[in-house]
């Protein structure tokens, strides 16, 4: 099985999908000839030609709108928004059009499309290359929201997303494109090659949407997380020696509530972990669901580890990023309460 980092796995997913389905078209800023600033779409224009993989004007609204028209025609647009921080000019088209089309037309027009976008911090990208805006999409009925955390999942989830009949916003944790990250920014970077999930099968396979993965079994505590924070969480529970069950949600909407509830009922404690700002973040939805459904099993309040309610400050990268210290404190709290 080839070893791939997340970029290679995503690139491979594109190729598999485009070979199988001539209706899949790829475009985005710098996504054509050059293959994207993160090189996820590298080689597509060469293999599939200029009309199936091309550069788009710098207009996120236009990119999404064009995808709407293409989906209405019957194509499957697979588009890239260069950074999640730049998705807002496309927010109206996503919220008012993409998300509501099937509903408002009684199923007459559907919007099978995937909007990929790199998100998250840990790369000294400052306020406009570090954001985690996924929560803003989980509030919008009609969208599915997916966040992979390994090369294996990235390819399998992306293929599932492309084949899904509904629009999927696909957030790629850019900090772990090239290797997992345990939050210890002062330690050397591990490449994906050392991680089992870098064994990525050739050809077609999918990781189903709507299913979380128990990436670590445990009895004392349930940790709910996704993206980069999966790795930070795993490292933190190991370091703290807590027998935690760590669930990589993988899909935020629709959520794998069954797996979550089963785990929390077993452990009686729950910690939710995300990079995004705290207030009204998806972590709050997770806390709410857990307390609604597992209240009488809970031995302590559900804790949150999150980014702060501030813009992402360039120089304070590691004071903002929810790293080992924030994890430690929260783990201590949720276990002590």
């Amino acid at each position: 099985m080839p070893t791939m980092n997340m970029i290679q796995a995503l690139n491979d997913a594109h190729k598999v999908a485009m070979r199988a389905d001539p209706d899949v078209v790829v475009f985005g800023e710098d996504a054509g000839y050059f293959g994207g600033v993160f090189r996820v779409t590298e080689g597509l224009q060469k293999e599939f030609g200029k009309t199936r993989a091309f550069d788009a004007p710098i207009s996120e609204g236009g990119i999404v709108a064009a995808a709407v028209g293409m989906a209405a025609y019957g194509l499957k647009p697979l588009i890239e928004i260069q950074f999640a921080d730049y998705i807002y000019p496309g927010y109206d088209q996503i919220v008012s059009e993409v998300a509501k089309m099937r509903y408002r037309t009684g199923g007459e027009w559907t919007m099978p499309m995937v909007i990929r976008t790199p998100y998250g911090g840990g790369i000294f990208g400052g306020q406009t290359h570090s954001q985690s805006p996924e929560s803003l999409f989980t509030h919008i009925a009609g969208l599915k929201v997916v966040v992979p955390s390994t090369p294996y999942d990235a390819k399998g989830l992306l293929l599932a997303a492309i084949e899904d009949p509904d629009p999927v916003i696909f957030f790629e944790p850019k900090r772990i494109y090239n290797g997992p990250f345990d939050g210890h920014h002062d330690r050397p970077v591990t490449p994906w090659a050392k991680h089992p999930a870098s064994d990525v099968p050739e050809g077609h396979y999918t990781v189903p949407l709507g299913k979380g993965a128990i990436v670590r079994e445990g009895a004392e505590l349930t940790v709910l997380t996704y993206g980069t924070m999966v790795h930070v969480s795993l490292a933190a529970v190991e370091e703290q020696g807590i027998d935690a069950e760590v669930i990589d949600l993988r899909t935020l909407v629709p959520l794998d509530m069954q797996t979550i509830a089963k785990s929390v009922e077993k452990t009686g404690r729950c910690l939710v972990v995300m990079e995004a700002p705290r207030t009204s973040g998806f972590a709050s939805e997770l806390v709410t669901l857990v307390q609604e459904r597992c209240f009488y099993h809970l031995e302590a309040p559900v804790e949150r580890v999150t980014g702060w309610d501030t813009p992402y400050p360039h120089a304070y990268e590691w004071a903002y990023f929810p790293g080992p210290k924030r994890m430690k404190r929260a783990l201590e709290k949720v276990m002590a309460d």
Partner: protein
């Protein structure tokens, strides 16, 4: 106010903000004598594959075919046969009657909302006549004429307006937000402008696939100010997209006149110049000019010669919607005094001048249309009117959010059903 170094003050004149104001306000007597209206037949007709700049002089004039003498004249005369003309006339009359009946239905409390296109009927109906039925339209809420012209059943339209049992949109959309794929009519959005770049995307797809179908996007003068207008123009120009982009300049956007959208300094058709695409400005109340312009643009698009921006110059003769009373912001007689006339009357007069029509036939046809609309209304009302809706099939509220109902919506459906609606 921000800090400022007084030593830098200059003797420059004081700056002033210009806030556009329409020529006439309630109480004024509109006088359109200064409005320059080029004569019918005067505008040249470039070849459909002409370089875009050749069309640019046409963005500041007005393509007109029907003259004062009710005759068709000049290079834009589409030379339509009388049956086609009668069909357009009939469609226009149907639309007008339909609008009147539905407006009244709203006033009678049978639905929540309605929007007429009075005075603008020629635009959608003649455009529909000029294009094959499998080209795709991305309309606004004032192109009901497309559906009528393409033969979408009036009952279906009314079912949507009443959100009743027959409404294929399942009661989910505001009245008049039609959608019908089979009639090449994309779902109308409540969010202005969104459909304009979507039309471009559809046409890009058609081009990617080597298809021969083109798309036509529609937008109002007011909505051209949205960023989506610019997206549409940019993408259309960059990829030389087979699309017609139509701006219906009816001179009003609710209470704001077209000057608030930039209409004081340039025509809306002129926007084409800056993107290097073809542009035409057309008398929107002249069904023949509309037909000819759309045919030209459609032939151009279909031969990979590029997109066209068309401005249809017209006048919104009635209120914006049932929620609006225009007497608060413009003279009530402005519509009547506006010089480009009534599109129905103009086409009717043309047919009469051709000897292909007369008052009796017109009355008979009008009566037929009226009966058809009434019959459709009766039929539709059998399936219910709005005030009776939203009580049964509450579970359907949770369908179509996704292809399949996920667990959280299944739970919410349970709960909604247990509430039993209200």
């Amino acid at each position: 106010m921000s800090d400022r170094d007084p030593s830098l003050r200059r003797n420059a004149p004081k700056l002033a903000l210009h806030v556009p104001e329409p020529a006439f306000r309630p109480g004024d007597t509109p006088d359109f004598s200064s409005l320059k209206i080029p004569a019918a037949g005067a505008a040249p007709r470039p070849d459909i594959s002409a370089p875009a700049p050749e069309t640019h002089p046409l963005t500041t004039s007005l393509v007109r075919v029907l003259g004062e003498d009710d005759r068709a004249t000049g290079p834009w005369d589409p030379k339509l046969d009388a049956d086609t003309l009668r069909k357009i006339l009939r469609d226009m009359v149907t639309v007008r009657i339909f609008d009147d009946r539905m407006y009244r239905a709203q006033r009678q409390g049978k639905t929540s909302f309605y929007m007429k296109c009075t005075g603008e009927e020629a635009i959608a109906t003649a455009a529909a006549a000029a294009m094959p039925a499998d080209d795709m339209h991305f309309p606004t809420y004032r192109q009901q004429g497309l559906l009528v012209a393409r033969g979408y059943p009036l009952t279906e339209m009314m079912n949507q307006i009443y959100s009743n049992r027959g409404d294929k949109l399942r009661g989910r959309q505001l009245p008049i937000m039609y959608s019908d794929k089979r009639h090449g009519f994309f779902s109308i959005s409540g969010n202005l402008g969104t459909q304009f770049p979507q039309a471009v995307g559809w046409a890009m797809a058609s081009a990617i696939k080597g298809d021969s179908r083109i798309a036509m996007g529609w937008i109002g003068d007011g909505a051209t100010a949205e960023g989506d207008f610019h997206s549409a123009m940019t993408f259309a120009a960059v990829y030389n997209v087979p699309v017609i982009l139509a701006t219906v300049n009816n001179q009003w956007a609710i209470s704001s006149f077209s000057g608030i959208a930039g209409g004081e300094r340039a025509t809306f058709a002129q926007r084409a110049v800056g993107y290097g695409i073809a542009g035409l400005r057309v008398d929107g109340n002249d069904a023949l000019a509309v037909y000819a312009a759309v045919k030209w643009a459609s032939d151009r698009a279909r031969t990979n010669s590029g997109p066209t921006l068309i401005e249809f110059f017209t006048y919104r003769a009635e209120g914006h919607s049932t929620s609006d009373d225009p007497s608060g912001y413009r003279p009530t007689n402005e519509a009547k005094l506006w010089p480009l006339g009534d599109p129905v009357e103009r086409l009717k007069a043309h047919l009469i001048a051709l000897g292909e029509w007369d008052e009796d036939r017109h009355s008979a046809m009008t009566a037929e249309c009226d009966s058809a609309v009434r019959a459709a209304q009766k039929e539709s009302e059998k399936l219910g009117i709005l005030p009776e809706q939203g009580k049964d099939d509450i579970g359907s509220m949770f369908d179509d959010v996704y292809a399949e109902v996920p667990w959280h919506l299944a739970e919410q459906r349970e709960q909604a059903l247990s509430e039993g609606g209200e």
